[in-house]
């Protein structure tokens, strides 16, 4: 096992080791303080193990593979950084509550799944880590124990299980399509275009991963889960957990143009999601809900870029999409940390340390030149450039700006602490660290994905070349935000989870079916009915056997 492969194994082993320590009471008390350590091997793996040969282990009778290619490394590194920062934040935020240790257990399981998803190279490992990250997030969401948290957790769990079922069927179909008994993802993707159930498999994959990434109409769990979960959990939910869906789409959708109409469909769905989420988000007042809708919108843009890139067979799509998503991990995670700090700082410190950097990050989502977001937009420009799609993408950038300015306004309106309050340095460091990473990270890594040295200022170059093209969405968004501030009160209030109200009717229908089936079953339990059923079974079996023999 080479060093790189050892790092990959360590990434998975570190959270498990901490989980093991939770079995005994004395180590269990220390675990919450060590949460920030667990993801660090993942960060090291992302930095040093990218592109290493995959680690193949023949365990459990199956061939398990751990592999880390460049796009996964980008996401793994960003996610590990976010998990670490949020993990440092968590004990301070949750305080000395009795539920802290239980929270730590759920945290570690989710962390293991979240990092493992980026490393998985075969169907079984991927399904296992995806299940872990989807199902264990329930524990993070219901931490507060309030009815609202309960409801959010249940809906998240229900949708997550449905997504799991779709993925299980898709993976079973893929495993069936592979001529050998290999379970490697690469083989499965290669076999996908030739499979007779190709449409079904693609639909199931999009449904399962789109549910995780937050594509409309399967996004309804995101705006419910984020405000209900404690702040560190919201940060990793939006930042890292949602990216499991993105990495799934990146890994499983074939890149060689075999998608036909699916690429265009994905792009349409992604752009629709982007606008829908902006529309719902501007009606919200809770800053965490606004951020949740912003995540939905940004994931929509990401998926649209992926779809267009696959449809047009643009080279380097995977890296570009991963880069865009990476920036989102860092920036969105940082903004969630900022929301947590809003009540802990006051006065000038608040404006300087909190609001201004948050404003810079927020505008980055719209593409403010100089920010990491602008670089991210540049990265996916080859994908989202064509005609109508380009115009829609630019409009969505304006929408993002609008939404994020709305968020800043809501953030600023949160009650501040006393002007002389000194916040604890751990949360402050976590927030500033993440904010810095969100700005510097894309700059440092831009050279990895495209031509040019970022220190020469690619986005400044683009600004010089086409100032209007880069700036007009931001300005439009700012104007709309001013309008929103003036007349926003007239907008209808959309409940959190918008489309979820439709589900109530489905639930009632389900209850009626359940009652009818129960009634039927009760009738069947009467003795004469059962006796009759026995005789009918004998005759039916006899008839079937005769038919088969004749």
């Amino acid at each position: 096992m080479t060093g790189a492969q050892g790092l990959m194994v360590l990434t998975l082993a570190a959270p498990l080791a901490l989980l093991l320590a939770c079995l005994w009471p004395a180590p269990r008390r220390r675990v919450p303080g060590l949460l920030w350590l667990a993801p660090l091997p993942g960060l090291l793996a992302a930095l040093f193990a990218a592109g290493a040969p995959p680690l193949v282990m023949d365990g459990a009778g199956l061939r398990l593979t751990l592999a880390l290619d460049a796009p996964s490394a980008l996401l793994l590194g960003a996610a590990a950084l976010l998990w670490s920062a949020a993990g440092a934040y968590a004990p301070a935020y949750l305080g000395r509550q009795a539920g802290l240790e239980r929270f730590a257990v759920w945290w570690l399981v989710t962390l293991w799944g979240s990092l493992g998803v980026f490393l998985a190279g075969d169907l079984v490992t991927f399904y296992l880590t995806f299940a872990a990250v989807s199902l264990a997030a329930f524990g993070l969401i219901v931490q507060d124990g309030t009815p609202r948290a309960r409801r959010a957790g249940e809906i998240t769990l229900l949708l997550a299980v449905m997504g799991e079922v779709c993925l299980l069927l898709a993976f079973a179909l893929l495993a069936d399509a592979v001529p050998t008994s290999s379970l490697a993802i690469a083989d499965a993707v290669a076999a996908l275009p030739g499979s007779p159930a190709r449409g079904l498999i693609l639909g199931l994959l999009v449904a399962g991963f789109g549910l995780k990434a937050g594509l409309v109409p399967l996004h309804v769990w995101l705006p419910l889960a984020h405000p209900a979960a404690p702040m560190p959990a919201s940060a990793v939910l939006s930042g890292a957990i949602v990216k499991a869906g993105i990495i799934g789409l990146l890994r499983f959708l074939p890149a060689d143009g075999a998608l036909e109409g699916w690429g265009d469909g994905l792009a349409a769905l992604g752009l629709f999601t982007a606008f829908w989420a902006v529309g719902c988000g501007i009606t919200q007042t809770n800053p965490k809900t606004v951020l949740a809708y912003s995540t939905v919108s940004q994931m929509g843009v990401t998926v649209a870029a992926l779809g267009m890139g696959l449809a047009l067979a643009v080279p380097g799509t995977a890296m570009a999409v991963a880069f865009y998503a990476m920036h989102h991990v860092l920036a969105k995670g940082a903004l969630f940390l900022a929301v947590g700090l809003a009540g802990a700082v006051g006065g000038a410190r608040r404006t300087g340390l909190l609001l201004l950097p948050a404003l810079f990050l927020a505008l980055g989502f719209g593409g403010l030149p100089g920010s990491g977001g602008a670089l991210a937009k540049l990265a996916v420009k080859p994908q989202l450039d064509a005609g109508l799609v380009g115009a829609l993408a630019a409009l969505s950038a304006a929408g993002s700006t609008l939404l994020m300015l709305h968020f800043i306004r809501r953030l600023a309106s949160l009650p501040p602490a006393d002007a002389t309050a000194r916040p604890s340095w751990v949360p402050l460091l976590a927030w500033l660290g993440m904010a810095g990473a969100a700005v510097l990270g894309p700059w440092v890594l831009f050279g990895a994905i495209g031509p040019g040295d970022p220190w020469l200022g690619d986005s400044w170059e683009a600004l010089a070349k086409d100032p209007v093209g880069l700036l007009w969405p931001v300005l439009l968004g700012a104007v709309l935000a001013l309008l929103l501030g003036r007349w926003g009160g007239h907008l209808p209030t959309v409940p959190e989870g918008d489309l979820l109200v439709l589900a109530g009717r489905v639930g009632r229908g389900g209850a009626i079916i359940g009652a009818a089936v129960s009634h039927l079953e009760k009738r069947l339990r009467a003795w004469p009915t059962a006796g009759l059923a026995l005789l009918v079974l004998v005759l039916a079996l006899f008839g079937a056997l005769l038919a088969g023999a004749g």
Binding site: K522, R525, W527, P528, G531, L532, L535
Partner: protein, 109 residues
């Protein structure tokens, strides 16, 4: 109508009667009696099989006869157990059927 065919039809009739009684009768003792009828019909059929598969020189195949004896013992044990349980149930609840009481929950039906 030869002997085996007659006995076979009788056996079938007994099986039918026993099955009907076991399913339709409410009182436990009658169910147990019906079960014994049912068993009797099956054993009769075993006897028919014994006659039909008799090897040369023997009146009947001994193997099914051994099975009948075993079956009688098993049916006897089952009847004894059922009667003991019915008796105990009667002693505790004064009930003679296995129907649930009128206020039964789902678990009792």
């Amino acid at each position: 109508m030869s002997g085996p065919v007659l006995y076979g039809l009788l056996g079938a009739a007994l099986v039918a009667l026993g099955l009907f009684g076991l399913v339709v009768q409410a009182a436990v003792l009658r169910k147990i009696l019906a079960f014994n009828l049912l068993g009797g019909g099956v054993f009769l059929l075993f006897g028919v099989v014994a006659r039909r598969t008799a090897p040369a020189g023997l009146a009947a195949d001994p193997v099914p006869q051994a099975m009948v004896i075993t079956g009688i013992v098993v049916a006897f044990a089952a009847t004894a157990l059922a009667v003991a349980m019915a008796l105990r149930m009667y002693q505790i609840t004064a009930a003679v059927t296995v129907s649930p009481p009128p206020d039964a929950q789902a678990g009792d039906a």
